[in-house]
Symmetry: C2
Subunit: 343 residues, 2 copies
């Protein structure tokens, strides 16, 4: 092995959280790194992704994939790693790869040769671009807004959790499509960033403003697309103001993840009254179109039509604390844990 570390650390699920995630719901376990087999690599994690959906996977609610089992390593929605040992043809020590479904909340992992996806080299972009705008969150924004939301020039697009990893990209794609973009976020700092840096037309601080009244002012022609990351009261306010034939891509319902007993939207009836289309989606359902999507996003990033922010928290030991920032609204942009240095 190419380094002196013979152990690796991982966060394993101890018990299913009740309410917000507590450190005691997970255990940081240290174990020996296994010998790799033929056609496998050993990879050292550099970054792994923290996402609201971690909270779904920790629960045993009926969900879009299997929950993480008690005792298993916590699943990550993407990671970036460097190959430290390789028994795979064409993969060399030092190659940078995507962790895919193999790189969870852990600082080392093995990957079979067939599952290896190398990052492109010499792109001029920082590595963190490939765990944010060019990882999963950019494509989530892209497919959710364009394929499900189908915004037309001049329409009004409202985005909740707009300063988040997905929301901030949605806002900018909607501006590229020449829409009236209304961003909802939870602090003045986020609102200023959305307005001054990302160019949204209106930013609403939902912690300070009455969301329904603020949306009514920002959307004099009603709402055509509501890109939902949160559910709850914000969803109800948006439903109230939707135009006939409006579209609601459902990307997330973060306000519900800590307590599934909350009810559905009071204004559900407007799906009928305004003949809306509400569609849940997962980025993993669009793999056929991924390459085209990444090319377009990459070009927009290169042209500075899309900016992105990555909130890096150092140290694997901080993962359970850091993931709660997604629920309190403390983070801005894509939240990741850095577990080792970039090569």
């Amino acid at each position: 092995m190419s380094n002196l570390n013979h152990t690796y650390k991982s966060w394993r699920l101890n018990k299913r959280p009740v309410g917000e995630i507590k450190n005691s719901d997970l255990s940081l376990v240290e174990e020996n790194i296994p010998e790799i087999n033929d056609n496998e690599v050993l990879a050292r994690t550099i970054y792994f992704s923290l996402d609201p959906t971690n909270r779904i996977w920790m629960s045993d609610v009926d969900q879009y994939m299997e929950p993480v089992e008690i005792g298993d390593i916590m699943r990550a929605g993407g990671s970036i790693a460097v190959v430290e040992e390789s028994k795979v043809n064409d993969v060399s020590v030092g190659d940078i790869i995507q962790g895919g479904m193999h790189g969870g909340w852990q600082d080392y992992f093995t990957v079979p040769g067939n599952d290896i996806i190398k990052l492109p080299k010499e792109t001029g972009l920082p590595l963190t671009a490939f765990i944010s705008v060019l990882g999963f969150t950019g494509p989530t924004a892209y497919f959710g807004l364009l394929d499900i939301g189908k915004p037309k020039k001049g329409e009004t697009v409202v985005v909740s959790a707009a300063a988040g990893a997905v929301g901030s990209i949605v806002c900018q794609i909607a501006k590229i499509k020449e829409c009236n973009v209304v961003a909802i976020a939870g602090s003045d700092e986020k609102c200023n960033w959305l307005k001054n840096e990302l160019g949204v037309d209106t930013a609403i601080n939902y912690k300070k403003q009455n969301i329904l009244e603020a949306l009514r002012l920002a959307c004099p022609n009603g709402i055509d697309v509501y890109f939902d990351n949160v559910g709850g009261d914000t969803l109800d306010a948006a439903l109230t103001l939707m135009n006939k034939f409006g579209r609601i891509p459902v990307c997330g319902l973060i306000s519900m993840y800590n307590d599934w007993s909350s009810t559905g939207p009071k204004m559900y009836r407007n799906i009928l009254m305004k003949t809306l289309t509400v569609t849940g989606f997962l980025v993993s359902d669009f793999t056929d179109q991924f390459e085209e999507c990444l090319q377009t996003l990459g070009q927009w990033v290169a042209e500075e039509k899309i900016k992105y922010k990555v909130d890096v928290v150092e140290g694997i030991e901080n993962a359970p604390t850091a993931v709660n920032k997604l629920f309190t609204g403390e983070n801005q942009g894509k939240l990741v844990i850095q577990t080792s240095r970039e090569p």
Copy 2:
């Protein structure tokens, strides 16, 4: 004028109902029939339609068209009438016409020449076919199931209010499309009709059975299309069992119409978890495809692939009492008021 009647009767909205519709919420008013103008006809109503949406129009909740104003004649979702006096070229006394937006809860009305739609002659079908399966309710079933629900052969289609005017047609179209059809209704008599006459695979009496458990048994492969007429607990049960990429055409939410304060579905989260598409629709949004739809439905009726039932209540004075049958589940098939004899 061609008859001795110089007055007509109409039900006018007195006040907005609280809970179920009471006779005192409307007034039966007798007034003089106005003289018709050039390019107008005077029509005598034979049948007018009673529909769950009457209850929406009586309320002032934000809705898909303007509510009926206090003092105005109650709007009907279709009527059939005979021309008694005509100042329109090509329209003769004795012609049978659709009331369109002109024939409300009233026994006479006038129609401008441009709005006249004559019924086809010598079809061999009873007149009531044209206020049910070949009126609005058949096309509602047709477009909602085929354009929104998009059922594929072998898929499971669940239909609520399945013995109703729309639901009963949905069930039969779904059988024509070779689906596993599960019908939900509120009496054993209705369930027997659905199973023995209309050929559904399973009929569930929701007043006797636990709806979630009964659906689970009837849908061993999950639900692909849930055609919703009711909302409420039935919607929650269906959401619980929906398959990935399931479709929910929202045709009605009758369980909510008497009390808008009820909350949305507790299982709303499954729109995300199962990547569902939930779409509200109105038959009036499909006028471009009406002719094709009526041809197909007409052929299915002629071939006896589609049967339909019309529940005729005689006497305009009974309209407010009769409309409540839609909410208590007393009626079966299309509910209409007959105000005068067929010619």
